[in-house]
Protein backbone atom coordinates (compact mmCIF):
# COMPACT_ATOMS: atom_id res chain seq x y z
CA UNK A 1 0.00 0.00 0.00
CA UNK A 2 2.79 2.38 0.94
CA UNK A 3 4.61 1.58 -2.28
CA UNK A 4 1.49 2.30 -4.34
CA UNK A 5 1.07 5.77 -2.90
CA UNK A 6 4.80 6.48 -3.07
CA UNK A 7 4.92 5.34 -6.67
CA UNK A 8 2.06 7.68 -7.56
CA UNK A 9 3.82 10.52 -5.73
CA UNK A 10 6.99 9.87 -7.69
CA UNK A 11 5.12 9.99 -10.98
CA UNK A 12 3.35 13.20 -9.96
CA UNK A 13 6.70 14.78 -9.13
CA UNK A 14 8.16 13.82 -12.52
CA UNK A 15 4.99 15.08 -14.21
CA UNK A 16 5.28 18.40 -12.40
CA UNK A 17 8.99 18.81 -13.12
CA UNK A 18 8.51 17.85 -16.76
CA UNK A 19 6.01 20.73 -17.16
CA UNK A 20 3.68 18.44 -19.04
CA UNK A 21 0.69 20.21 -17.57
CA UNK A 22 1.51 23.65 -18.95
CA UNK A 23 0.05 23.45 -22.45
CA UNK A 24 -3.15 21.62 -21.40
CA UNK A 25 -3.61 24.18 -18.65
CA UNK A 26 -3.24 27.02 -21.14
CA UNK A 27 -5.79 25.34 -23.40
CA UNK A 28 -8.23 25.04 -20.51
CA UNK A 29 -7.70 28.67 -19.51
CA UNK A 30 -8.26 29.81 -23.11
CA UNK A 31 -11.51 27.94 -23.26
CA UNK A 32 -12.59 29.41 -19.94
CA UNK A 33 -11.90 32.86 -21.28
CA UNK A 34 -13.86 32.09 -24.41
CA UNK A 35 -16.76 30.85 -22.28
CA UNK A 36 -16.97 34.14 -20.43
CA UNK A 37 -16.91 36.18 -23.54
CA UNK A 38 -20.11 34.56 -24.72
CA UNK A 39 -21.59 34.68 -21.23
CA UNK A 40 -23.34 31.33 -20.90
CA UNK A 41 -26.62 31.97 -19.30
CA UNK A 42 -26.90 28.53 -17.78
CA UNK A 43 -24.56 26.54 -15.64
CA UNK A 44 -25.65 23.35 -17.39
CA UNK A 45 -24.61 24.58 -20.82
CA UNK A 46 -21.31 25.82 -19.48
CA UNK A 47 -20.52 22.50 -17.76
CA UNK A 48 -21.58 20.32 -20.68
CA UNK A 49 -19.34 22.13 -23.17
CA UNK A 50 -16.58 22.18 -20.58
CA UNK A 51 -16.90 18.40 -20.19
CA UNK A 52 -16.18 17.87 -23.87
CA UNK A 53 -13.28 20.31 -23.92
CA UNK A 54 -11.82 18.79 -20.78
CA UNK A 55 -12.22 15.31 -22.21
CA UNK A 56 -10.19 16.28 -25.28
CA UNK A 57 -7.56 18.07 -23.23
CA UNK A 58 -7.17 15.02 -21.03
CA UNK A 59 -6.84 12.71 -24.02
CA UNK A 60 -3.93 14.90 -25.03
CA UNK A 61 -2.55 14.86 -21.48
CA UNK A 62 -2.81 11.08 -21.26
CA UNK A 63 -1.14 10.63 -24.60
CA UNK A 64 1.75 12.88 -23.56
CA UNK A 65 2.16 11.10 -20.23
CA UNK A 66 2.28 7.70 -21.88
CA UNK A 67 4.69 8.91 -24.56
CA UNK A 68 7.09 10.41 -22.05
CA UNK A 69 7.48 7.19 -20.10
CA UNK A 70 11.06 6.03 -20.05
CA UNK A 71 11.34 2.28 -20.54
CA UNK A 72 14.26 1.78 -18.17
CA UNK A 73 12.69 3.96 -15.50
CA UNK A 74 9.54 1.87 -15.74
CA UNK A 75 11.57 -1.33 -15.51
CA UNK A 76 13.22 -0.13 -12.32
CA UNK A 77 9.83 0.60 -10.77
CA UNK A 78 8.34 -2.68 -11.95
CA UNK A 79 11.13 -4.71 -10.37
CA UNK A 80 11.13 -2.78 -7.09
CA UNK A 81 7.85 -4.22 -5.88
CA UNK A 82 7.27 -7.86 -5.09
CA UNK A 83 3.57 -7.64 -5.96
CA UNK A 84 3.40 -6.47 -9.55
CA UNK A 85 -0.15 -5.18 -9.06
CA UNK A 86 1.40 -2.40 -6.94
CA UNK A 87 3.16 -1.14 -10.03
CA UNK A 88 -0.01 -1.03 -12.11
CA UNK A 89 -2.24 0.36 -9.37
CA UNK A 90 0.37 3.01 -8.62
CA UNK A 91 0.29 4.09 -12.22
CA UNK A 92 -3.51 4.35 -12.19
CA UNK A 93 -3.48 6.25 -8.92
CA UNK A 94 -1.26 8.82 -10.57
CA UNK A 95 -3.67 9.17 -13.50
CA UNK A 96 -6.49 9.54 -10.98
CA UNK A 97 -4.63 12.36 -9.24
CA UNK A 98 -4.04 14.18 -12.53
CA UNK A 99 -7.66 13.90 -13.61
CA UNK A 100 -8.93 15.15 -10.26
CA UNK A 101 -6.51 18.09 -10.38
CA UNK A 102 -7.73 19.05 -13.84
CA UNK A 103 -11.39 18.53 -12.99
CA UNK A 104 -10.89 20.80 -9.99
CA UNK A 105 -9.21 23.41 -12.19
CA UNK A 106 -12.05 23.19 -14.66
CA UNK A 107 -14.40 23.94 -11.77
CA UNK A 108 -12.91 27.43 -11.67
CA UNK A 109 -15.37 28.41 -14.34
CA UNK A 110 -18.57 27.16 -12.64
CA UNK A 111 -17.26 28.38 -9.26
CA UNK A 112 -16.71 31.84 -10.65
CA UNK A 113 -20.24 31.85 -11.99
CA UNK A 114 -21.44 30.70 -8.58
CA UNK A 115 -19.61 33.47 -6.79
CA UNK A 116 -20.65 36.17 -9.25
CA UNK A 117 -24.22 35.08 -8.82
CA UNK A 118 -27.24 36.06 -10.83
CA UNK A 119 -25.44 38.74 -12.81
CA UNK A 120 -24.51 36.10 -15.30
CA UNK A 121 -27.08 33.42 -14.69
CA UNK A 122 -30.69 33.21 -15.45
CA UNK A 123 -31.11 31.38 -12.13
CA UNK A 124 -28.96 31.13 -9.04
CA UNK A 125 -26.66 28.18 -8.58
CA UNK A 126 -26.88 25.74 -5.68
CA UNK A 127 -24.11 23.76 -4.01
CA UNK A 128 -25.76 20.56 -5.19
CA UNK A 129 -25.44 21.73 -8.77
CA UNK A 130 -21.79 22.52 -8.19
CA UNK A 131 -21.20 19.00 -6.88
CA UNK A 132 -22.91 17.57 -9.94
CA UNK A 133 -20.80 19.78 -12.17
CA UNK A 134 -17.69 18.40 -10.53
CA UNK A 135 -18.81 14.80 -10.95
CA UNK A 136 -19.44 15.30 -14.66
CA UNK A 137 -16.12 17.07 -15.16
CA UNK A 138 -14.25 14.44 -13.20
CA UNK A 139 -15.88 11.62 -15.15
CA UNK A 140 -15.01 13.28 -18.45
CA UNK A 141 -11.43 14.00 -17.38
CA UNK A 142 -10.99 10.40 -16.26
CA UNK A 143 -12.36 8.97 -19.48
CA UNK A 144 -10.11 11.32 -21.45
CA UNK A 145 -6.88 10.45 -19.68
CA UNK A 146 -7.71 6.73 -19.81
CA UNK A 147 -8.33 6.87 -23.55
CA UNK A 148 -5.25 9.03 -24.15
CA UNK A 149 -2.91 6.72 -22.30
CA UNK A 150 -4.41 3.53 -23.73
CA UNK A 151 -2.05 3.28 -26.71
CA UNK A 152 1.12 3.66 -24.68
CA UNK A 153 4.47 2.71 -26.25
CA UNK A 154 4.21 -0.66 -24.52
CA UNK A 155 0.85 -1.32 -26.17
CA UNK A 156 1.68 0.21 -29.55
CA UNK A 157 5.29 0.77 -30.55
CA UNK A 158 4.42 2.80 -33.65
CA UNK A 159 3.93 6.29 -32.21
CA UNK A 160 2.55 7.84 -35.39
CA UNK A 161 -0.13 5.19 -35.70
CA UNK A 162 -0.99 5.46 -32.02
CA UNK A 163 -1.38 9.23 -32.36
CA UNK A 164 -3.66 8.89 -35.38
CA UNK A 165 -5.74 6.24 -33.68
CA UNK A 166 -6.01 8.19 -30.45
CA UNK A 167 -7.19 11.32 -32.28
CA UNK A 168 -9.67 9.23 -34.25
CA UNK A 169 -11.06 7.53 -31.15
CA UNK A 170 -11.33 10.82 -29.28
CA UNK A 171 -13.24 12.47 -32.13
CA UNK A 172 -15.55 9.49 -32.50
CA UNK A 173 -16.22 9.53 -28.75
CA UNK A 174 -17.22 13.17 -28.87
CA UNK A 175 -19.43 12.70 -31.92
CA UNK A 176 -20.74 9.42 -30.54
CA UNK A 177 -24.48 9.99 -30.35
CA UNK A 178 -24.52 11.48 -33.85
CA UNK A 179 -22.67 8.51 -35.33
CA UNK A 180 -24.68 5.87 -33.52
CA UNK A 181 -27.26 5.92 -36.31
CA UNK A 182 -24.77 4.40 -38.72
CA UNK A 183 -24.42 0.66 -38.35
CA UNK A 184 -20.64 0.24 -38.36
CA UNK A 185 -19.92 3.36 -36.38
CA UNK A 186 -22.49 2.24 -33.84
CA UNK A 187 -20.26 -0.58 -32.73
CA UNK A 188 -17.20 1.56 -32.30
CA UNK A 189 -19.19 4.06 -30.30
CA UNK A 190 -20.16 1.39 -27.81
CA UNK A 191 -16.53 0.63 -27.20
CA UNK A 192 -15.68 4.25 -26.53
CA UNK A 193 -16.30 6.28 -23.38
CA UNK A 194 -19.85 7.72 -23.42
CA UNK A 195 -18.70 11.31 -23.40
CA UNK A 196 -21.29 12.28 -25.97
CA UNK A 197 -24.00 11.02 -23.62
CA UNK A 198 -23.34 13.99 -21.36
CA UNK A 199 -24.36 16.32 -24.17
CA UNK A 200 -27.24 14.12 -25.11
CA UNK A 201 -28.71 14.00 -21.61
CA UNK A 202 -28.28 17.69 -20.91
CA UNK A 203 -28.68 18.98 -24.45
CA UNK A 204 -32.29 19.92 -24.00
CA UNK A 205 -32.36 20.14 -20.22
CA UNK A 206 -31.71 23.44 -18.58
CA UNK A 207 -31.38 22.03 -15.06
CA UNK A 208 -29.36 19.29 -13.43
CA UNK A 209 -30.89 15.88 -12.81
CA UNK A 210 -29.04 14.24 -9.88
CA UNK A 211 -29.99 10.69 -10.88
CA UNK A 212 -28.80 11.20 -14.45
CA UNK A 213 -25.59 12.88 -13.29
CA UNK A 214 -24.75 9.99 -10.97
CA UNK A 215 -25.45 7.46 -13.73
CA UNK A 216 -23.26 9.37 -16.21
CA UNK A 217 -20.47 9.65 -13.69
CA UNK A 218 -20.70 5.94 -12.89
CA UNK A 219 -20.64 5.02 -16.55
CA UNK A 220 -17.66 7.25 -17.30
CA UNK A 221 -15.73 5.84 -14.35
CA UNK A 222 -16.58 2.32 -15.49
CA UNK A 223 -15.20 2.99 -18.96
CA UNK A 224 -12.06 4.61 -17.50
CA UNK A 225 -11.40 1.62 -15.27
CA UNK A 226 -11.98 -0.76 -18.17
CA UNK A 227 -9.58 1.16 -20.41
CA UNK A 228 -6.86 1.22 -17.78
CA UNK A 229 -7.39 -2.48 -17.13
CA UNK A 230 -7.08 -3.32 -20.83
CA UNK A 231 -3.89 -1.31 -21.12
CA UNK A 232 -2.39 -2.95 -18.01
CA UNK A 233 -3.31 -6.45 -19.12
CA UNK A 234 -1.69 -5.91 -22.52
CA UNK A 235 1.39 -4.31 -20.93
CA UNK A 236 1.71 -7.16 -18.48
CA UNK A 237 1.43 -9.74 -21.24
CA UNK A 238 4.06 -7.99 -23.32
CA UNK A 239 6.31 -6.69 -20.56
CA UNK A 240 9.10 -4.41 -21.67
Amino acid sequence: MVSIVEMAKYRLHIWKQGHLYVMPLVALALYDGFCYSIKPAQLVTCVVTLCIVLFLIMVWMGYMIAGREDMVEEQLLYLRVAQKSCYYVGKSLFLLAVQVIFAALAMANPMMLYVMGTDMFSESVTVGELIQSFLLLWGSAGAGIALGSLLSPQVMRDRKLSLLLTVFLAVVSVLGSVLKKYAVAGWIVWLLPPISAVGKVYGNNSSFLPGRTAALWGLLVLYSVAYVAVRDIISHKRRF
Partner: protein
Protein backbone atom coordinates in the same frame (compact mmCIF):
# COMPACT_ATOMS: atom_id res chain seq x y z
CA UNK B 1 20.96 -23.94 -1.01
CA UNK B 2 17.40 -23.94 -2.21
CA UNK B 3 16.80 -22.84 -5.77
CA UNK B 4 14.67 -19.70 -6.14
CA UNK B 5 14.67 -19.05 -9.88
CA UNK B 6 14.01 -21.76 -12.42
CA UNK B 7 14.39 -21.37 -16.16
CA UNK B 8 12.59 -24.10 -18.10
CA UNK B 9 13.55 -24.41 -21.76
CA UNK B 10 13.68 -20.67 -22.13
CA UNK B 11 14.11 -19.22 -25.61
CA UNK B 12 14.03 -15.62 -26.65
CA UNK B 13 13.80 -14.35 -30.18
CA UNK B 14 13.88 -10.76 -31.32
CA UNK B 15 12.24 -10.89 -34.70
CA UNK B 16 14.12 -13.61 -36.54
CA UNK B 17 17.13 -13.34 -34.29
CA UNK B 18 17.48 -16.11 -31.72
CA UNK B 19 19.17 -14.56 -28.69
CA UNK B 20 18.56 -17.29 -26.10
CA UNK B 21 17.93 -20.88 -27.09
CA UNK B 22 16.40 -23.51 -24.89
CA UNK B 23 18.04 -22.69 -21.58
CA UNK B 24 17.13 -24.84 -18.59
CA UNK B 25 18.82 -23.84 -15.38
CA UNK B 26 18.01 -23.25 -11.72
CA UNK B 27 19.68 -20.66 -9.55
CA UNK B 28 20.03 -21.06 -5.81
CA UNK B 29 19.19 -18.40 -3.27
CA UNK B 30 22.36 -16.65 -2.23
CA UNK B 31 24.34 -17.51 -5.32
CA UNK B 32 26.42 -14.94 -7.12
CA UNK B 33 26.50 -15.50 -10.84
CA UNK B 34 28.29 -13.66 -13.61
CA UNK B 35 27.42 -13.68 -17.29
CA UNK B 36 30.32 -12.88 -19.54
CA UNK B 37 30.73 -12.96 -23.28
CA UNK B 38 30.93 -10.88 -26.41
CA UNK B 39 28.84 -7.79 -27.06
CA UNK B 40 25.39 -8.74 -28.19
CA UNK B 41 25.59 -12.36 -27.05
CA UNK B 42 22.52 -11.89 -24.86
CA UNK B 43 23.75 -11.10 -21.36
CA UNK B 44 21.39 -8.19 -20.78
CA UNK B 45 18.55 -10.12 -22.36
CA UNK B 46 19.14 -13.02 -19.98
CA UNK B 47 19.11 -10.67 -16.96
CA UNK B 48 15.80 -9.26 -18.16
CA UNK B 49 14.32 -12.68 -18.74
CA UNK B 50 15.47 -13.83 -15.28
CA UNK B 51 13.77 -10.88 -13.61
CA UNK B 52 10.59 -11.04 -15.68
CA UNK B 53 11.18 -7.75 -17.50
CA UNK B 54 11.20 -9.61 -20.79
CA UNK B 55 8.87 -12.48 -21.44
CA UNK B 56 10.60 -15.43 -23.10
CA UNK B 57 9.34 -16.42 -26.55
CA UNK B 58 9.14 -20.00 -25.30
CA UNK B 59 9.59 -21.70 -21.97
CA UNK B 60 8.91 -20.47 -18.46
CA UNK B 61 10.59 -18.60 -15.68
CA UNK B 62 9.42 -19.55 -12.21
CA UNK B 63 10.12 -18.13 -8.78
CA UNK B 64 9.69 -19.90 -5.48
CA UNK B 65 8.22 -16.73 -4.00
CA UNK B 66 7.54 -13.12 -4.95
CA UNK B 67 10.94 -11.50 -5.24
CA UNK B 68 12.06 -7.91 -5.00
CA UNK B 69 14.65 -7.19 -7.65
CA UNK B 70 16.92 -4.21 -7.67
CA UNK B 71 18.47 -3.48 -10.98
CA UNK B 72 21.45 -1.44 -12.09
CA UNK B 73 20.73 -0.98 -15.79
CA UNK B 74 23.29 -0.68 -18.53
CA UNK B 75 22.31 2.91 -19.18
CA UNK B 76 20.73 4.73 -16.31
CA UNK B 77 18.02 7.19 -17.37
CA UNK B 78 18.20 10.82 -16.30
CA UNK B 79 14.89 12.11 -14.95
CA UNK B 80 13.85 15.74 -14.44
CA UNK B 81 14.53 15.40 -10.73
CA UNK B 82 17.69 16.00 -8.77
CA UNK B 83 19.64 12.92 -7.75
CA UNK B 84 18.55 13.41 -4.15
CA UNK B 85 14.86 13.74 -5.05
CA UNK B 86 15.04 10.66 -7.23
CA UNK B 87 16.78 8.55 -4.60
CA UNK B 88 14.37 9.74 -1.90
CA UNK B 89 11.44 8.61 -4.02
CA UNK B 90 12.99 5.22 -4.69
CA UNK B 91 13.73 4.69 -0.99
CA UNK B 92 10.18 5.66 -0.04
CA UNK B 93 8.84 3.15 -2.57
CA UNK B 94 11.12 0.59 -0.94
CA UNK B 95 9.37 1.34 2.32
CA UNK B 96 12.10 3.21 4.18
CA UNK B 97 11.21 5.99 6.59
CA UNK B 98 12.12 9.48 5.47
CA UNK B 99 14.64 10.08 8.25
CA UNK B 100 16.40 6.76 7.87
CA UNK B 101 16.42 7.10 4.10
CA UNK B 102 17.90 10.57 4.11
CA UNK B 103 20.70 9.42 6.36
CA UNK B 104 21.39 6.27 4.35
CA UNK B 105 21.36 8.15 1.09
CA UNK B 106 23.85 10.80 2.13
CA UNK B 107 26.08 8.13 3.63
CA UNK B 108 26.13 6.18 0.37
CA UNK B 109 26.68 9.34 -1.63
CA UNK B 110 29.67 10.23 0.55
CA UNK B 111 31.10 6.77 0.14
CA UNK B 112 30.76 6.95 -3.62
CA UNK B 113 32.25 10.46 -3.68
CA UNK B 114 29.23 12.09 -5.20
CA UNK B 115 27.62 13.89 -2.27
CA UNK B 116 28.30 17.27 -3.87
CA UNK B 117 26.26 16.21 -6.90
CA UNK B 118 23.20 15.03 -4.99
CA UNK B 119 21.42 18.35 -5.35
CA UNK B 120 22.06 18.59 -9.10
CA UNK B 121 19.51 17.70 -11.68
CA UNK B 122 20.14 14.21 -12.99
CA UNK B 123 20.17 15.45 -16.57
CA UNK B 124 23.22 17.60 -15.80
CA UNK B 125 25.27 14.82 -14.21
CA UNK B 126 28.29 13.26 -15.92
CA UNK B 127 27.93 9.73 -17.23
CA UNK B 128 29.87 8.15 -14.38
CA UNK B 129 28.05 10.15 -11.72
CA UNK B 130 24.68 9.22 -13.21
CA UNK B 131 25.73 5.59 -13.16
CA UNK B 132 26.57 6.04 -9.46
CA UNK B 133 22.99 7.18 -8.86
CA UNK B 134 21.99 3.97 -10.60
CA UNK B 135 24.13 1.96 -8.21
CA UNK B 136 22.97 3.82 -5.09
CA UNK B 137 19.27 3.36 -5.90
CA UNK B 138 19.90 -0.37 -6.01
CA UNK B 139 21.71 -0.41 -2.65
CA UNK B 140 19.23 1.59 -0.56
CA UNK B 141 17.71 -1.55 0.90
CA UNK B 142 18.69 -5.18 0.62
CA UNK B 143 16.50 -6.67 -2.12
CA UNK B 144 16.09 -10.41 -2.69
CA UNK B 145 17.94 -10.27 -5.97
CA UNK B 146 20.43 -7.77 -7.28
CA UNK B 147 20.78 -7.50 -11.06
CA UNK B 148 23.89 -5.73 -12.25
CA UNK B 149 24.22 -4.95 -15.91
CA UNK B 150 27.75 -3.71 -16.38
CA UNK B 151 27.44 -1.77 -13.15
CA UNK B 152 30.84 -0.12 -13.14
CA UNK B 153 31.03 1.26 -16.65
CA UNK B 154 32.48 4.74 -16.45
CA UNK B 155 33.07 4.79 -12.72
CA UNK B 156 36.24 5.90 -10.99
CA UNK B 157 38.54 3.51 -9.16
CA UNK B 158 37.45 4.56 -5.66
CA UNK B 159 33.82 4.01 -6.50
CA UNK B 160 34.64 0.59 -7.90
CA UNK B 161 36.31 -0.40 -4.65
CA UNK B 162 33.39 0.85 -2.54
CA UNK B 163 31.02 -0.99 -4.82
CA UNK B 164 32.86 -4.29 -4.48
CA UNK B 165 32.84 -3.92 -0.68
CA UNK B 166 29.13 -3.11 -0.56
CA UNK B 167 28.15 -5.98 -2.79
CA UNK B 168 30.27 -8.44 -0.86
CA UNK B 169 28.64 -7.22 2.33
CA UNK B 170 25.21 -7.94 0.80
CA UNK B 171 26.41 -11.35 -0.32
CA UNK B 172 27.38 -12.11 3.26
CA UNK B 173 23.79 -11.35 4.20
CA UNK B 174 22.39 -13.78 1.66
CA UNK B 175 21.46 -11.71 -1.39
CA UNK B 176 21.21 -13.44 -4.77
CA UNK B 177 23.32 -11.75 -7.39
CA UNK B 178 23.41 -11.75 -11.17
CA UNK B 179 25.85 -9.64 -13.07
CA UNK B 180 26.67 -9.07 -16.69
CA UNK B 181 30.20 -7.86 -16.98
CA UNK B 182 33.29 -7.62 -19.12
CA UNK B 183 35.97 -7.10 -16.45
CA UNK B 184 37.44 -10.39 -15.18
CA UNK B 185 38.64 -8.70 -11.98
CA UNK B 186 35.13 -7.63 -11.08
CA UNK B 187 33.77 -11.07 -11.89
CA UNK B 188 36.36 -12.61 -9.59
CA UNK B 189 35.77 -10.04 -6.86
CA UNK B 190 32.02 -10.45 -6.42
CA UNK B 191 30.80 -13.65 -8.06
CA UNK B 192 31.44 -17.32 -7.48
CA UNK B 193 30.39 -18.77 -10.77
CA UNK B 194 30.46 -17.54 -14.35
CA UNK B 195 28.57 -18.49 -17.46
CA UNK B 196 28.99 -17.38 -20.99
CA UNK B 197 26.37 -17.34 -23.71
CA UNK B 198 27.29 -18.84 -27.05
CA UNK B 199 24.71 -19.07 -29.78
CA UNK B 200 21.97 -18.80 -27.23
CA UNK B 201 23.32 -21.55 -24.99
CA UNK B 202 24.36 -20.99 -21.43
CA UNK B 203 27.79 -22.51 -20.83
CA UNK B 204 29.80 -22.60 -17.60
CA UNK B 205 33.06 -20.80 -18.01
CA UNK B 206 36.27 -20.50 -16.11
CA UNK B 207 37.03 -17.18 -14.58
CA UNK B 208 40.63 -17.70 -13.62
CA UNK B 209 41.72 -14.14 -13.31
CA UNK B 210 44.97 -13.22 -14.81
CA UNK B 211 46.09 -10.37 -12.65
CA UNK B 212 48.40 -8.08 -14.49
CA UNK B 213 51.21 -6.04 -13.02
CA UNK B 214 53.00 -3.05 -14.37
CA UNK B 215 56.68 -3.68 -13.72
CA UNK B 216 59.22 -0.88 -13.82
CA UNK B 217 62.79 -1.98 -14.45
CA UNK B 218 66.07 -0.24 -15.11
CA UNK B 219 69.66 -1.11 -15.94
CA UNK B 220 72.55 -0.22 -13.67
CA UNK B 221 74.84 0.60 -16.59
CA UNK B 222 73.35 3.31 -18.74
CA UNK B 223 75.35 2.61 -21.93
CA UNK B 224 73.63 -0.02 -24.01
CA UNK B 225 69.94 0.88 -24.01
CA UNK B 226 69.25 -0.61 -27.40
CA UNK B 227 70.87 -3.80 -26.35
CA UNK B 228 69.02 -3.86 -23.05
CA UNK B 229 65.66 -3.68 -24.76
CA UNK B 230 66.60 -6.46 -27.12
CA UNK B 231 67.71 -8.57 -24.21
CA UNK B 232 64.54 -7.92 -22.23
CA UNK B 233 62.37 -8.70 -25.23
CA UNK B 234 64.15 -11.94 -25.73
CA UNK B 235 63.74 -12.95 -22.13
CA UNK B 236 60.13 -12.04 -21.43
CA UNK B 237 58.53 -11.14 -24.74
CA UNK B 238 55.72 -8.61 -25.01
CA UNK B 239 55.97 -4.88 -25.54
CA UNK B 240 58.61 -2.97 -23.71
CA UNK B 241 58.03 0.76 -23.28
CA UNK B 242 60.56 3.33 -22.16
CA UNK B 243 59.74 4.82 -18.77
CA UNK B 244 61.98 7.52 -17.37
CA UNK B 245 65.49 6.15 -17.18
CA UNK B 246 64.22 2.60 -17.45
CA UNK B 247 61.42 0.56 -18.96
CA UNK B 248 57.97 -0.57 -18.16
CA UNK B 249 56.50 -3.89 -19.03
CA UNK B 250 53.18 -5.60 -18.31
CA UNK B 251 53.41 -9.09 -16.80
CA UNK B 252 50.91 -11.54 -15.40
CA UNK B 253 51.37 -13.01 -11.94
CA UNK B 254 52.85 -16.20 -13.37
CA UNK B 255 55.22 -14.29 -15.63
CA UNK B 256 56.44 -12.22 -12.70
CA UNK B 257 57.25 -15.39 -10.78
CA UNK B 258 59.04 -16.83 -13.75
CA UNK B 259 61.12 -13.87 -14.92
CA UNK B 260 61.79 -11.43 -12.12
CA UNK B 261 64.36 -13.51 -10.27
CA UNK B 262 66.37 -14.06 -13.41
CA UNK B 263 66.20 -10.42 -14.45
CA UNK B 264 67.46 -9.23 -11.07
CA UNK B 265 70.28 -11.74 -11.18
CA UNK B 266 71.34 -10.40 -14.58
CA UNK B 267 71.77 -6.84 -13.44
CA UNK B 268 68.28 -5.45 -13.90
CA UNK B 269 66.88 -3.43 -11.02
CA UNK B 270 63.25 -3.38 -9.93
CA UNK B 271 61.93 0.19 -9.54
CA UNK B 272 58.22 -0.45 -9.18
CA UNK B 273 55.54 -3.12 -9.23
CA UNK B 274 51.90 -2.07 -9.54
CA UNK B 275 48.74 -4.06 -9.83
CA UNK B 276 46.65 -2.88 -12.76
Amino acid sequence: MQAVIHLQQVSKKYGEKQVLGDITQSFAAGSAIAFVGHNGCGKSTLLKVLSGLVRPTRGTVQYDRALIFHYVPEKFPATYLTAEQYLMHMGMIDGLSQARLSEELWKLAEEFHMAEHLRSRMSTLSKGTLQKVGVIQALLIMPDVLLLDEPLSGQDVDAQRVFVDKVNDLRGRGITLFMSCHEPELVAAITEKAYTIEQGKLLPCDIAVTETYRVLLCREEEDARQQAVAELTKMVGGEILPYGDGYQIYLTQAECDRHLGRLLAQGWRLRGLYKV
